[in-house]
C-alpha cells in the first residue's frame, strides 16, 4: 500500500523526518519497501487542458489533441484512449524531464511532429498504471507546475502489509501505529453528514441470503452530480497509486484508502427492482465484471445481485458493468459491507482477480466500522458531487460481531519475551492501539483482560497480545540472550557423517557435484528407457511439460551433460546425491522416497601431454565405485551380471551389497546418448545410498603387520568368459586360507589357441605368516589347494 506522508499527517501531528518514520514503520511491522519522492526528477511538466481531440490523418489509434497549457496552445499526438475535450492533464513540453532522467525531444509520430506529450501515471512515476492519461481534476490551474498540483513534494511510503493486518491497509491505521510509536495523539474526526429526503428503506430493499458469508450489509441512497474530482482528491489518489476516474468512484476509493473500508456505488436507476440481494452463486453461473471479462462462477463465490436476482457484483472483489455509475448517473446506492475474509480470499484466488477491495476484505475489515466508512463517503460526496444523502441507511447486521476478551498474564508475557516489564508497562503499550484494558477486581493480581477493537481481528489469544507488547517495546530492544541448554549436545548422525564422506570421496575422485531439478519430462524417462509406471506426477505444475518426480537421477544428469556439451564442454565428471521418488505401496500415502548416489563420466579423460587422452570407459566408473566401497570399508560389495534401463547390456553390472542389489554401474547405451544429444561415450553409476550405507563393514579388529618375508606366486588359468575375475579371486581367497595376505588379477589374455568363449586370467598371490617364515612345503600345499579349487569351481585349466 502506498501511504503519502501528508495524508497520514492529517490524523496525527508527525514531525519526524521521513527516514525516521520509515524506520519506525519497519520496526512496527509495516515494512517500507520503498520510500518514494515522486517529484524529485520531474522538471517542466505543466497542467494543460484538452481543447479538441481530432483524428490523426495517418493512423487510427493515435489522435491529435489541441491543448491549452496556460501560456499558449499547441497540438500533441496522443495514443491514449481516455482523452476527451475538457480533460485536464499533465503535459510535458519539449525539454521537460521525466522520472528516470529522460528529457523530451521533438518526435514525429506517423508523420506529424508532436509538441511534447501528455502523460500517464506511469510516465510520471506515480504507479504502474499506463492505461491512459492521468486526469488532474477540473480545477487545476492551467500552466501550473504539475509537482505543485499533485503535491509531488510529498513523500510516499510503499508499505508491504502482512495478511494479518487489515487495519494497516488504511491511512488511519498507519497513522494509529505511528501515533502510538511517537507518543502522539490520533485525531480521526467522525464524519458529519446532513441527511434529507425520504429514508433509504422507503425506496430500496436489501436481503442477505448467505449470512455465514456476509455478516453485515448496509446501503445508503445518495443523489449525486457526476463529474471530475477536485485536484486535492485526484492528487491523493494518484499519490496512493490509484487513477482518478470520476468524483463518485474516486470518493469510494478515497474512503477505502483512508479508512480501509471498501465501498461500492451502484447506479440506482440501473438496478432492476431497486434492491440488492447477497447470495451464493450457482455452479456455472456467469457474469461480466467491470474489466469486461466474463467470469465463470462456482457455489463458493458470493454475489451481490439486484432484486431480480441478476448478479451485479462479485461480492467484495469487483463490480459488474450493468449498474456501474456513469456520467449520467443521478442517484447511487452506496454499499458498505463486511464479508467473511476466507471466502473472499478463496474466490479472489480462484478467479485470479485481486482488487484493492478484495485485499482488504480478505484480511478482514472492521465489521463495526462499516457504517462509519459509508458516512465518510457521504460526507465527501456532499463536498465533491453535490451529494444529497437520504436518512436512515439500511443496516442488515443480524448477528453483531463482538470484540474478543483476552485474559493476559503479565508473568507469561515476560517469560515469553525474556524481559521484565511490569503490569503497568504492559498495559501502557496496549492502550494507544485502542485495546481496552479491564482491570482485575480486588485480589486479581497482575492478570487483566484485554479487549481489542474489532478492526484488529488478528488479536484473539494471549499470545497475540504478547506480540503486540513485543512490537510496542520494539523487537530489537529486547535483550538478546542464548538458551540455557543443559544436557544437550549437537552433532551429525553417523548417516549424515557418512553421507558427507561419500560426497568427499566423489570430490576426491574428481567429480563435480551437480544439482538437477527433480521434476522431469515424460520424454526424459522415455529417452532413458524408463517406464512412467509407478512414478509420481505433479498435477498442477506451471511448467506442465516436466511433471514427473524423478524415479532415477541419471536422466537429469544426462541432460546436464548434454547442456554442457552444447557449450563445448563435453568432457566432464558429475555426481549428484539426491532424492528419487516411486509410487508408494498400497495403503501408504507418501511415495517411496530415497537418496540416490549417481555418477556420470562423459567424453574423454584428458591427460595429454603427459599421457595420451583416452575416452572414459566403464573401468573409470568401477574406480569410483571402489573408492566409495573402500572409504566405507564395505565387507561385501560385488558386481554381478545384469543390466538396467539406459545402460549398455554388454558393458555393465548390477552392484550388490551383502548380496542385495543396490544399483548399477556401466556404460550408457549408445542409443540413449544419441537420444540425449551427448556426443562422446559416457559411463555411470546409480546406487541407493542407504543400500550402500547399510552394508556390513569390514572387521576393524587390529591385525599386526607381519615382519616375516613374503612368498609370491603367480597362477594363470584358462576360464570360460562367463566366469568373473572376482569369482576366481574369491575362490582363491577361500582355498589359500589364512596365509594369503593379498591377491589380485594382473593379466587378461585371449587368443585363437585358447578358443572362442575362453580367456586366460593371471593372479598374483602373496603369502605370509604372522609368526614365521613360510616353508617351501607350506607354499606348495597352498598353491595346489588354490589350483584345485579354481579348476573345480570354474571349469578352469591351469595355464602352463
Amino acid at each position: 500500500m502506498r501511504a503519502p506522508l501528508s495524508w497520514i499527517r492529517e490524523f496525527t501531528p508527525l514531525e519526524a523526518d521521513p527516514v525516521t518514520i520509515a524506520s519506525a514503520l519497519d520496526n512496527l511491522g509495516l515494512e517500507v519497501e520503498a520510500l518514494d519522492a515522486p517529484g524529485a526528477e520531474i522538471v517542466g511538466v505543466k497542467v494543460a487542458k484538452a481543447l479538441d481531440v481530432r483524428k490523426h490523418p495517418g493512423a487510427d489509434k493515435v489522435r491529435l489533441v489541441d491543448i491549452d497549457f496556460g501560456d499558449g496552445t499547441t497540438t500533441v499526438v496522443c495514443g491514449a484512449p481516455n482523452v476527451v475535450a475538457g480533460m485536464v492533464m499533465p503535459y510535458a513540453p519539449v525539454g521537460a524531464t521525466l522520472p528516470g532522467g529522460f528529457t523530451l525531444t521533438p518526435k514525429k509520430i506517423r508523420g506529424i511532429v508532436s509538441d511534447g506529450m501528455l502523460l500517464s501515471p506511469r510516465e510520471l512515476g506515480l504507479s504502474d498504471d499506463h492505461g491512459g492519461i492521468l486526469g488532474l481534476g477540473a480545477d487545476a490551474e492551467l500552466g501550473a507546475d504539475v509537482r505543485d498540483v499533485l503535491d509531488l513534494h510529498d513523500v510516499v511510503f510503499d508499505l508491504a502489509i502482512t495478511p494479518n493486518r487489515p487495519d494497516a491497509m488504511s491511512m488511519v491505521g498507519v497513522a494509529r501505529e505511528l501515533a502510538a510509536h511517537f507518543g502522539l495523539p490520533l485525531r480521526v474526526p467522525p464524519p458529519v453528514i446532513d441527511e434529507s429526503g425520504a429514508p433509504t428503506a422507503s425506496e430500496v430493499t436489501v436481503r442477505i441470503d448467505a449470512p455465514e458469508r456476509c455478516a453485515r450489509f448496509t446501503v445508503r441512497r445518495i443523489g449525486v452530480t457526476m463529474g471530475e474530482s477536485p485536484a486535492w482528491l485526484a492528487r491523493r489518489l494518484t499519490l496512493a497509486g490509484m487513477r482518478p476516474i470520476s468524483n463518485v468512484v474516486d470518493v469510494t476509493n478515497y474512503v477505502l484508502l483512508e479508512r480501509g473500508q471498501p465501498l461500492h456505488a451502484f447506479d440506482l436507476d440501473r438496478l432492476p427492482g431497486r434492491g440488492l440481494v447477497v447470495r451464493l452463486a450457482a455452479d456455472g453461473e456467469r457474469m461480466t465484471t467491470l474489466d469486461g471479462v466474463e467470469r465463470s462462477l462456482t457455489a463458493e463465490d458470493l454475489l451481490v445481485c439486484d432484486a431480480e436476482g441478476r448478479p451485479q457484483a462479485i461480492a467484495g472483489i469487483m463490480g459488474g458493468s450493468v449498474a456501474e455509475v456513469h456520467e449520467a448517473t443521478t442517484e447511487i446506492l452506496l454499499e458498505a459491507a463486511y464479508f467473511q475474509p476466507m471466502g473472499i480470499s478463496r474466490s479472489s484466488k480462484r478467479l485470479g482477480l485481486r482488487s484493492e477491495s478484495s485485499a482488504r476484505f480478505e484480511r478482514g475489515v472492521d465489521p463495526n466500522g462499516v457504517l462509519v466508512g459509508s458516512a465518510r463517503a457521504a460526507e465527501l460526496l456532499r463536498l465533491v458531487a453535490s451529494g444529497h444523502v437520504a436518512p436512515e441507511p439500511i443496516d442488515e447486521y443480524p448477528v453483531p460481531i463482538v470484540p474478543a476478551r483476552i485474559t493476559v498474564r503479565v508473568p507469561r508475557v515476560e517469560a515469553l519475551l525474556g524481559v521484565e516489564l511490569g503490569a503497568e508497562r504492559v498495559k501502557e503499550t496496549l492502550r494507544p492501539l485502542e485495546i481496552e484494558i479491564e482491570e482485575p477486581g480486588a485480589g486479581g493480581g497482575d492478570d487483566f483482560v484485554a479487549i481489542p477493537p474489532t478492526f484488529r481481528p488478528d488479536l484473539e489469544r494471549e499470545i497475540d497480545i504478547v506480540e503486540e507488547v513485543a512490537r510496542r517495546v520494539g523487537f530489537n530492544e529486547i535483550p538478546r540472550t542464548l538458551p540455557h541448554t543443559t544436557g544437550v549436545s549437537g552433532g551429525l548422525t553417523l548417516r549424515q557423517r557418512e553421507r558427507r564422506l561419500v560426497e568427499d570421496v566423489m570430490v576426491g575422485f574428481g567429480a563435480a557435484e551437480a544439482m538437477t531439478v527433480p521434476l522431469i519430462a515424460v520424454t526424459d524417462l522415455e529417452r532413458f528407457g524408463l517406464s512412467i509406471d509407478a512414478t509420481v506426477e505433479v498435477t498442477n505444475a506451471l511448467r506442465a511439460e516436466e511433471p514427473i518426480l524423478r524415479p532415477a537421477v541419471l536422466p537429469g544428469l544426462l541432460k546436464a551433460a548434454a547442456y554442457n556439451a552444447s557449450q563445448g564442454l563435453a568432457d566432464l565428471a558429475l555426481f549428484e546425491l539426491g532424492h528419487v521418488f516411486m509410487a508408494p505401496a498400497a495403503g501408504v500415502l507418501l511415495p517411496d522416497e530415497r537418496d540416490h548416489l549417481t555418477v556420470l563420466l562423459a567424453g574423454a579423460v584428458t591427460r595429454a601431454p603427459i599421457e595420451a587422452d583416452r575416452p572414459v570407459d566403464v573401468y573409470d566408473a568401477v574406480d569410483a565405485l571402489d573408492a566409495i566401497a573402500e572409504a566405507l570399508e564395505l565387507e561385501d560389495l560385488r558386481l554381478v551380471s545384469g543390466t538396467a534401463p539406459g545402460f549398455d547390456p554388454a558393458r555393465g553390472a548390477v552392484v550388490t551389497v551383502d548380496g542385495d542389489p543396490i544399483g548399477h554401474v556401466g556404460a550408457i547405451a549408445g542409443s540413449v546418448l544419441d537420444a540425449f544429444g551427448i556426443p562422446g561415450p559416457a559411463v555411470a553409476i546409480e546406487l541407493d545410498l542407504d543400500g550402500l550405507l547399510g552394508g556390513t563393514r569390514r572387521d576393524r579388529a587390529f591385525r599386526l603387520p607381519s615382519r616375516f618375508p613374503a612368498s609370491n606366486i603367480d597362477l594363470a588359468f584358462v576360464l570360460p568368459e562367463t566366469v568373473h575375475a572376482a569369482d576366481v579371486e574369491r575362490t582363491l581367497r577361500t582355498a589359500a586360507g589364512e596365509l594369503l595376505e593379498a591377491v589380485r588379477a594382473f593379466d587378461e589374455f585371449r587368443s585363437d589357441a585358447l578358443g572362442a568363449g575362453r580367456r586366460s586370467l593371471a593372479f598374483a598371490l602373496r603369502f605370509r605368516a604372522p609368526d614365521r617364515t613360510l616353508s617351501d612345503t607350506e607354499i606348495a600345499t597352498a598353491r595346489l589347494a588354490c589350483i584345485d579349487a579354481v579348476i573345480a569351481a570354474h571349469a578352469a585349466e591351469l595355464r602352463g
Partner: protein, 341 residues
C-alpha cells in the same frame, strides 16, 4: 689455534650448502670452499702440528672424518647434477600432471555444511524429512487451516496421490519441525536443511526448486530474546562480527510473535545500495516463537514448553556472499560454475 677450532667444521651447514647447489659449477666452487687448499678444513689440518700432543690425534681424526663426509656429499650431489647438465635443464613440471580431475562440492552443499557446522557448534542436531509431504505436516499442523490465505502465498505443487490437494511437494522445510516434535520430546535443538518446491518456472528470478535451512528450539523457558540472540550468534559466525542483525515484526501462521530477520547489507555496509533497495538491510529469512496452536497439534504442552523457529533460503547465502545470480545458475549445472567453487 684456539680449542674451539673444530666448531668451524659444521657438517650440517656443509650439507645444506651442497643440497642448494643447482649446477656442477656451483658444486665445484663449493668443493674448493669446503675441502680445498684454502678451506677452513685445510687450515685446521695444518694447525695440528702446533697443537699439544694430547690434542693432535683428536683434532686429526675429526678433520679427516669431516673431510670424508663432505667429499661423499659432494660426490653424490655431483652424480645427481650430471643428468641435469646433460639435458641442459630440469623437467618442465608446468606441463601439468597426469590429468586427474579435480572434484568440487556444489556451492549449495558447501553452504549447507557450513551452516550445519555453525549450528552443531551451538548445540544443534541436523534433521531431515521427505520432500513429498502431506497436507498435515506442510500446512495443517503448522496452523494453516484449510482456505487460509497464507496457503495461497505458497504456490504449492500437488501430486497424484491421496485425496486431491492432500499430498504435495513441501513448500518449506517447516514440516520437518512437525516431524521432529511429533517424534522427540523436548529439549529439542535441531536444524533442518533440505530441498523445497514452489510452483514456479525456472527463470532468472524464480526456481521451482530451492533449498532452505530451518532451526527449531523447544525447551523450558525459551524466550524471544533467545531467538534474537541465537540469530545474532549465527549471523556473526557466518558473516563476521561486524554485521548487525535486526528483527522486524512479520506474520507466519506457525509462529507468534513472528519476525523477519535482516542483516546490514554486505554490499554497502548499511549505507544503502541497489542490492538492499537503499534500505541498508538485507532480509535473510523468517522467524518467531512457536505458536501455541502448533505445540498443541504435536502434543507438546505450550504452558510447560516454549520454543522458537527460524528459516531462510540456502541459495541466498552464496548469492549474498559471492554475488551469484540469477538463481537458476545453481540448477543449470554448467560445469564452469560447478568447478568455480
Amino acid at each position: 689455534m684456539p680449542a674451539d677450532a673444530l666448531a668451524e667444521l659444521d657438517l650440517d651447514a656443509a650439507r645444506a650448502a651442497v643440497g642448494a647447489a643447482g649446477t656442477l659449477d656451483e658444486l665445484e666452487d663449493l668443493r674448493k670452499r669446503l675441502v680445498g687448499k684454502q678451506s677452513v678444513a685445510a687450515r685446521v689440518k695444518q694447525s695440528i702440528k702446533d697443537l699439544p700432543a694430547d690434542r693432535k690425534p683428536v683434532v686429526g681424526k675429526a678433520v679427516s672424518e669431516y673431510t670424508a663426509a663432505v667429499t661423499t656429499l659432494l660426490d653424490e650431489r655431483h652424480a645427481d647434477l650430471v643428468p641435469v647438465e646433460a639435458t641442459g635443464t630440469a623437467l618442465d613440471l608446468t606441463l601439468g600432471g597426469h590429468g586427474r580431475m579435480r572434484g568440487h562440492l556444489h556451492l549449495v552443499t558447501q553452504c549447507r555444511r557450513e551452516l550445519e557446522d555453525v549450528f552443531v557448534s551451538l548445540g544443534y542436531r541436523v534433521e531431515e524429512g521427505p520432500e513429498v509431504e502431506d497436507d498435515w505436516h506442510n500446512f495443517e499442523a503448522l496452523n494453516f487451516p484449510p482456505g487460509h490465505p497464507a496457503r495461497a502465498m505458497q504456490d504449492t505443487l500437488y501430486v497424484n496421490l491421496g485425496e486431491p490437494e492432500q499430498v504435495l511437494l513441501r513448500t518449506h522445510t517447516s514440516p520437518v519441525q512437525v516431524r521432529v516434535m511429533e517424534t522427540q520430546k523436548p529439549p529439542i535443538y535441531s536444524v533442518m536443511p533440505g530441498r523445497t518446491y514452489r510452483n514456479e518456472t525456472l527463470d532468472a528470478r524464480h526456481s521451482p526448486v530451492f533449498h532452505q535451512i530451518e532451526g527449531l528450539a523447544v525447551d523450558r523457558g525459551i524466550t524471544f530474546g533467545d531467538l534474537a540472540g541465537t540469530l545474532e550468534a549465527f549471523t556473526s559466525a557466518y558473516f563476521g562480527k561486524q554485521l548487525q542483525s535486526r528483527l522486524i515484526p512479520s506474520f507466519f501462521p506457525f509462529t507468534e510473535p513472528s519476525a523477519e530477520f535482516s542483516i546490514t547489507c554486505v554490499f554497502c555496509d548499511g549505507a544503502g545500495c541497489r542490492v538492499c533497495s537503499k534500505t541498508g538491510w538485507i532480509e535473510l529469512g523468517g522467524c518467531g516463537m512457536v505458536d501455541p496452536n502448533v505445540f498443541r497439534k504435536v502434543g507438546i504442552d505450550p504452558e510447560e514448553y516454549s520454543g522458537f523457529a527460524f528459516g531462510f533460503g540456502l541459495e541466498r547465502m552464496p548469492m549474498l556472499r559471492y554475488g551469484v545470480e540469477p538463481i537458476k545458475t545453481f540448477f543449470d549445472n554448467d560445469i564452469r560454475f560447478l568447478t568455480q567453487y
